[in-house]
C-alpha cells in the first residue's frame, strides 16, 4: 500500500525554524518509542529531512519511575540536509521525574521542557533520586518550561469511552504526540489510520487513543502557551522519488535478500538472539515467502556452523551477532576461511568488553573483524555508514562472499541497527545481477581448483554426481585438495589465501572523497556510523573557510587500492572512532601515515561539535 502525498507547506504565522531536535523521554512503559516513530513518519510526510535515535534501557521492564527504566527517542528534522539525530535537544518531553533527571543535562540552554506534572509526586521524585522538586529549586531556570498535567487531561479526554483508568492512562503518549503535532504543524491523519489498523480488534482502544491525540492537539490550539507558539519547518530539498523510513536492521535484512536474489542463490540465515542484532533474525523469519530459511540455533557457535554447513550444501549461509557472539563464532569462521566457503557474518557492534553496555553503541570490533582469529586467517571486512547504506553494503557483502568463496564480516552497530532515516526506495531492476556458478564438470575436478583471476576455488555442492570429495580444516594440497602436511604446500596455500583477499582490492571502487579537496590541510577519515556527525562537522567547518575533507570507508579489509596515496596528499589525517583507536592503527601500519585518533567510548554517538572542535584545534592555531 502506498501513501503518496504531495507536500504543500501550510501558510501560518508560525515561527520559522531551519531544524529542530526533539527528545521524547519517559518510563519504559510510557510508549516513547512508538511516539517517536509516529512523529518520525508525520515529519517525513511533511517533507523534512530527518534522522532519529532511539535510546532504551537494557532492562525489559525496569521498575516504574526509576532512572534506569527511562526510554528515550530523539529526532532531528529540518529544511536542510540532516546527517545526525542531533547533538542537543531543543525540546525535551519528560513524562516523569526520572526522564527529566536523566535527560535534562543534554537540553540546549533556553530550550523547551515539557513536563507531565501529573507524575511529579513525592514518590516519583524520590524514585528518580531528587531530594527537592526540580520545578521549585531553580534547576529549570535555564529552560522554558511547560508544566501540564497530561495524565489528568488524558483521563478527561477519554472519559465515558468505556475503557479502564489504566487503559486510559496508556494513551498519555498519544495526547503528548497530539500536542507536539500541533507545535510543529504535523498532520494527524496517518497516525489515526495507523491506530485504527493496529487496534483493529479493539476499536475501543483505537478510539481512546485517537481521542487523546486529538485532545492534545486541541490543547495546543486553544491554550495560551507563553513561549510555545507554533513553529514551522519548511520542507527540505530532497531528491525526487518514493521514500520510506528504514532502520539499519531492516535495510541489512532486505539487502541480504536482495544480494542472494542477485547472486541467484538461496539464503540460509542462522542466528542466536543477542542485543542489538536480533531484529535481523526477526525480519528475515517473516520473509519465508522468499524461500528464506531462518534457524534460531542453540548458541552462537552452532549458528555460525549451521550457516557454514548451509554454504557447503549450496545455499548462502549468513550468521549475525554482536561482538561477544562473534568471538564465539571465530573458530568456525576460521574453518570457512580454510575450506574457502562463502559466508556473511553481520556484527551489530555494541559497547564492551564482555557484556559491556548491551544497548549502547560502539565501533570497537574492527580489530576483532580484521585480526581476531588464530593463525593467518584473512577475510573481507565491510562497514555500513547509515541505516539506508546497510542495504547496499549487505548486497556488496553477498557479492564478495560468493564471488571469492570467502567469509565477509559486515560491521554495523547498535546505533545504525535501531536508528531510522528516510530512504529513497531503490528499484531492484536497476541492480546488476552477479549469479553464482556451481561447478559440475567432473573432468580434472578437485575441490581446490581455482579461478585464475579471482583465485576463488570452485563451489562444488553435495548432490552433484561425480564430484564427491572431502574437505576440512586440515591443510589441503594446492594441487589435489587432499590432506597435505607438506611444508612448501602450507606456505603456498597460506600465500594463496592471503593473495585472494588482497586481490579483492582490484574489484572494489577506489576510495573517493565525500566532501572537500582530494588533497590539502586535513582529511577526516571515518568508517561506520560516525558518517553523520563527521559529514556535518566537515561541512560546517568548510563553511568557516577551513581546508578540511571527509573520507569515509566502506571497505575496511582489504582497503581501497588508492587509499595510501590519497591519505599522503593531506598534511594531517584525523580519524574519529567510537573506540580507543583501531582504524587509525591499521592506517598507520598499512601506509606509514601520521594519522591521529579522535576517540570516544561513552556509548553515545559523536556530537557534531566534538568533531568540529577537533578540526578547529588542528587548523585554527
Amino acid at each position: 500500500m502506498t501513501t503518496a502525498l504531495k507536500v504543500t507547506p501550510k501558510e501560518t504565522p508560525r515561527q520559522e525554524l531551519e531544524s529542530v531536535v526533539v527528545r521524547f523521554a519517559g518510563d519504559s512503559g510510557d510508549g516513547m518509542q512508538l511516539t517517536g516513530s509516529q512523529f518520525t513518519l508525520a515529519t517525513a510526510l511533511a517533507g523534512n529531512d530527518l534522522a532519529t535515535f532511539p535510546d532504551f534501557p537494557a532492562e525489559i521492564r525496569a521498575p516504574i519511575g526509576t532512572t534506569f527504566g527511562v526510554s528515550a527517542f530523539q529526532i532531528n528534522f529540518g529544511s536542510r540536509k540532516i546527517a545526525t539525530s542531533g547533538d542537543a535537544p531543543d525540546v525535551l518531553v519528560a513524562m516523569n521525574p526520572a526522564a527529566l533527571k536523566v535527560n535534562l543535562g543534554d537540553v540546549k540552554s533556553g530550550g523547551h521542557v515539557i513536563l507531565d506534572v501529573g507524575t511529579f509526586n513525592e514518590r516519583n521524585l524520590k524514585k528518580a533520586g531528587y531530594d527537592a522538586d526540580p520545578r521549585s529549586d531553580g534547576s529549570l531556570d535555564d529552560y522554558q518550561v511547560l508544566e501540564i498535567d497530561i495524565s489528568k487531561f488524558t483521563l478527561e479526554a477519554v472519559k465515558g469511552m468505556g475503557v479502564t483508568n489504566k487503559e486510559a492512562l496508556r494513551s498519555k503518549n498519544l495526547w503528548t504526540l497530539g500536542l507536539i503535532y500541533w507545535m510543529y504543524d504535523r498532520d494527524r491523519s496517518p497516525t489515526v489510520k495507523w491506530l485504527e489498523g493496529k487496534f483493529a480488534k479493539r476499536p475501543d482502544i483505537a478510539q481512546t487513543n485517537i481521542a487523546a491525540l486529538n485532545a492534545g492537539h486541541a490543547f495546543g490550539e486553544t491554550a495560551e502557551l507563553p513561549g510555545f507558539a507554533g513553529f514551522s519547518v519548511a520542507p527540505a530539498t530532497i531528491a525526487p522519488g518514493l521514500y520510506r523510513t528504514v532502520t539499519g536492521a531492516e535495510a541489512i535484512s532486505w539487502g541480504l535478500v536482495a544480494g542472494t536474489q542477485l547472486a541467484d542463490v538461496k539464503l540460509t540465515f542462522a542466528s542466536y538472539p543477542i542485543t542489538p542484532a536480533s531484529s535481523i533474525l526477526h525480519v528475515l523469519a517473516g520473509m519465508k515467502q522468499f524461500g528464506i530459511t531462518t534457524f534460531q540455533a542453540e548458541d552462537e557457535i552452532a549458528a555460525a556452523c549451521a550457516a557454514i554447513g548451509a554454504s557447503y550444501a549450496g545455499s548462502l549461509g549468513v550468521t549475525s551477532s554482536s561482538g561477544p557472539g562473534v568471538a564465539l563464532k571465530m573458530e568456525a569462521i576460521g574453518l570457512a576461511i580454510s575450506t574457502e566457503l562463502p559466508l556473511v557474518v553481520v556484527n551489530s557492534q555494541r559497547a564492551g568488553p564482555s557484556t559491556g553496555l548491551p544497548t549502547k553503541t560502539e565501533q570497537s570490533d574492527l580489530y576483532q573483524a580484521v585480526f581476531g582469529r588464530n593463525a593467518d586467517a584473512p577475510l573481507v571486512v565491510l562497514a555500513t555508514r547509515s541505516p539506508a547504506d546497510c542495504f547496499d553494503t549487505a548486497i556488496e557483502a553477498v557479492r564478495l562472499a560468493t564471488k571469492y568463496m570467502t567469509p565477509v564480516m559486515l560491521l554495523t552497530d547498535g546505533y545504525l541497527a535501531n536508528a531510522s532515516e528516510p530512504w529513497l526506495i531503490p528499484d531492484m531492476d536497476s541492480y546488476e545481477p552477479f549469479p553464482v556458478k556451481f561447478h559440475t564438470e567432473t573432468e580434472g575436478f578437485h575441490p581446490f581448483q581455482r579461478d585464475e583471476t579471482t583465485l576463488a576455488r570452485v563451489w562444488a555442492v553435495p548432490g552433484t554426481p561425480g564430484l564427491e570429495h572431502r574437505i576440512g580444516g586440515i591443510e589441503k594440497s594446492y594441487d589435489s585438495g587432499h590432506i597435505s602436511y607438506e611444508p612448501d604446500n602450507h606456505q603456498k596455500m597460506t600465500d594463496t589465501r592471503k593473495g585472494k583477499i588482497d586481490g579483492i582490492a582490484n574489484d572494489i571502487p577506489e576510495q573517493t572523497v565525500e566532501q572537500g579537496n582530494d588533497s590539502g590541510a586535513l582529511a577526516v577519515v571515518g568508517w561506520g556510523s560516525t558518517y553523520g556527525p563527521i559529514s556535518r562537522a566537515v561541512g560546517n567547518m568548510q563553511g568557516r573557510g577551513l581546508d578540511v575533507s571527509h573520507i569515509h570507508l566502506r571497505h575496511i579489509w582489504p582497503l581501497p587500492r588508492n587509499l595510501g596515496d590519497l591519505l599522503r596528499g593531506y598534511k594531517q589525517v584525523l580519524v574519529p572512532e567510537m573506540n580507543t583507536g583501531q582504524l587509525v592503527t591499521v592506517l598507520r601500519a598499512e601506509y606509514l601515515v601520521d594519522a591521529q585518533g579522535l576517540n570516544k567510548v561513552s556509548g553515545k554517538p559523536f556530537k557534531i561539535t566534538e568533531i568540529e572542535d577537533a578540526i578547529a584545534a588542528r587548523l585554527e592555531n
Partner: protein
C-alpha cells in the same frame, strides 16, 4: 546418480577412497569403516547424495575414507554443520561421525539439540571411553577410577551414558552396536538410515593404544553370549549361550531382573517382549550394565515422529510461498508508509 541403468551394483569397496587410512593398526575404527561401507552397499546408497560430517578426534577422520561427500569440521560442532546442510538441502543423506569426547564433552550441547530437534541425520558415536588423538586422557564416558595422563590417581567424576543421554533429550531412534560385531552392525545402520528423524547409534569401539580391552567384560568372545543381549522388536528378551536367560520386569519396583527359564517356575511368559516404541523399556534397557545385567545391543528405541525438523521448516516455507503470487522484493520495500517527493 547419473549412471546408466545397466550399472553394476555398488560394492563395499566402491565406497572406499584412495586415501591411506591413518588409524592405529588394530583400531576398532577399521571394523566400523568396514561395517559402514558394507551397509552403504547393502542399501545401494547414492554416493553423490551422501554426506559424512565429522568434528575432531580419531573417529572424525572417518569422512576422508568414504567415497561420498565429506566435511571434516571443528571439535564438537559437527551436528550444527549437519543441521545447516539438511536445512539447505533436505534431499541429502547426512551421517555424522564422532567420538565420545567430540559428542558428549565439547559437543554435548549440539548433540542434545540435533536429537531433540529431530533433524533427519544418522549420528554415529564411536565410544571408546578415552581421548585418543590427544594421547590418552580420560573422557566423559570413562568409568570412575580411570587412570590416564590427566588422572594419574584415577578419575573421580561420574561418566555419562550415551544412550540414556539420547533418550533423555527425546531422541526417537536409539541403538547400540559393537565395532567387531559385523553381523549386526550393517542391519542396525540400515535401520538408522530408514528412520525419518535423528537416529542415534552408539558404537562400542576399542582403542587398542590407550584403552585396550575396556569393553572386554561384555565383548570378549568368551563372555559375549552371557554379557550381551541383542534386542529385537516383538521378540522376548532372552540371552545366554543356551538362550535360557531372560529379563523380567518387577512391577512393584519397576526394575528388571535377570531370570533363568525353568528355574523357580520361570517360563517364557514371564519374559519381557521387546517393544522398541516403548520409551520406558528403552530406558531400562539402556541402563543395564555388567556384571548384574547384560549390555543391550540393537535398536533399543524407535518411535518416529510425524515429521523431521528440516521437513517442518521446509513445510512452513512452502506454505508461505504458496500464498499468492511470486514475491517481489520491490513490493516489500514499498509496503507500509511511503511518501513521494516531487
Amino acid at each position: 546418480m547419473n549412471a546408466p541403468a545397466t550399472v553394476e551394483k555398488l560394492q563395499p569397496k566402491d565406497y572406499a577412497t584412495d586415501q591411506e587410512v591413518r588409524w592405529c593398526p588394530g583400531c576398532g575404527d577399521y571394523a566400523i569403516l568396514k561395517g559402514v561401507q558394507k551397509a552403504m552397499a547393502d542399501m545401494q546408497a547414492d554416493p553423490a547424495k551422501t554426506v559424512f560430517v565429522s568434528g575432531i578426534g580419531c573417529a572424525a577422520r572417518f569422512p576422508y575414507y568414504m567415497a561420498t561427500y565429506g566435511f571434516h569440521t571443528i571439535h564438537g560442532r559437527a551436528p550444527a554443520f549437519a543441521t545447516g546442510i539438511k536445512l539447505a538441502n533436505p534431499e541429502l543423506d547426512v551421517w555424522v561421525v564422532g567420538g565420545d569426547g567430540d559428542n558428549l564433552s565439547i559437543g554435548g550441547n549440539h548433540l542434545m539439540h540435533i536429537l531433540r530437534r529431530n533433524v533427519d541425520v544418522q549420528m554415529l558415536l564411536f565410544n571408546n571411553e578415552i581421548y585418543g588423538l590427544t594421547k590418552g586422557q580420560y573422557s566423559p564416558t570413562s568409568r570412575v577410577g580411570t587412570r590416564s595422563p590427566s588422572t594419574p590417581a584415577g578419575s573421580v567424576d561420574s561418566p555419562v551414558s550415551a544412550t540414556q543421554f539420547a533418550l533423555g533429550v527425546n531422541a526417537r531412534f536409539v541403538a547400540r552396536a559393537v565395532d567387531t560385531q559385523q553381523k549386526q552392525m550393517p542391519g542396525i545402520l540400515a535401520r538408522a538410515k530408514a528412520h525419518k528423524g535423528a537416529s542415534f547409534v552408539e558404537i562400542f569401539q576399542n582403542c587398542i593404544v590407550y584403552n585396550d580391552g575396556v569393553f572386554d567384560r561384555f565383548t570378549d568372545k568368551s563372555v559375549v553370549a552371557d554379557a550381551q543381549i541383542y534386542v529385537e522388536h516383538g521378540k522376548p528378551l532372552l540371552f545366554g549361550k543356551d538362550n535360557d536367560k531372560g529379563l523380567r520386569l518387577d512391577p512393584k519396583t519397576l526394575t528388571l531382573a535377570v531370570v533363568t527359564l525353568g528355574q523357580d517356575g520361570v517360563s517364557e511368559d514371564d519374559i519381557l517382549v521387546h517393544d522398541e516404541t516403548n520409551k520406558a523399556m528403552a530406558q531400562l534397557l539402556a541402563a543395564m550394565e555388567p556384571p548384574d545385567f547384560p549390555v543391550a545391543i540393537g535398536v533399543l528405541y524407535c518411535n518416529p515422529a510425524g515429521t523431521s525438523y528440516e521437513a517442518a521448516v521446509r513445510g512452513q516455507i512452502e506454505a508461505a510461498s504458496a500464498n499468492g503470487k511470486a514475491p517481489s522484493l520491490n513490493d516489500v520495500l514499498r509496503r507500509g508508509s511511503t511518501w513521494s517527493v516531487d
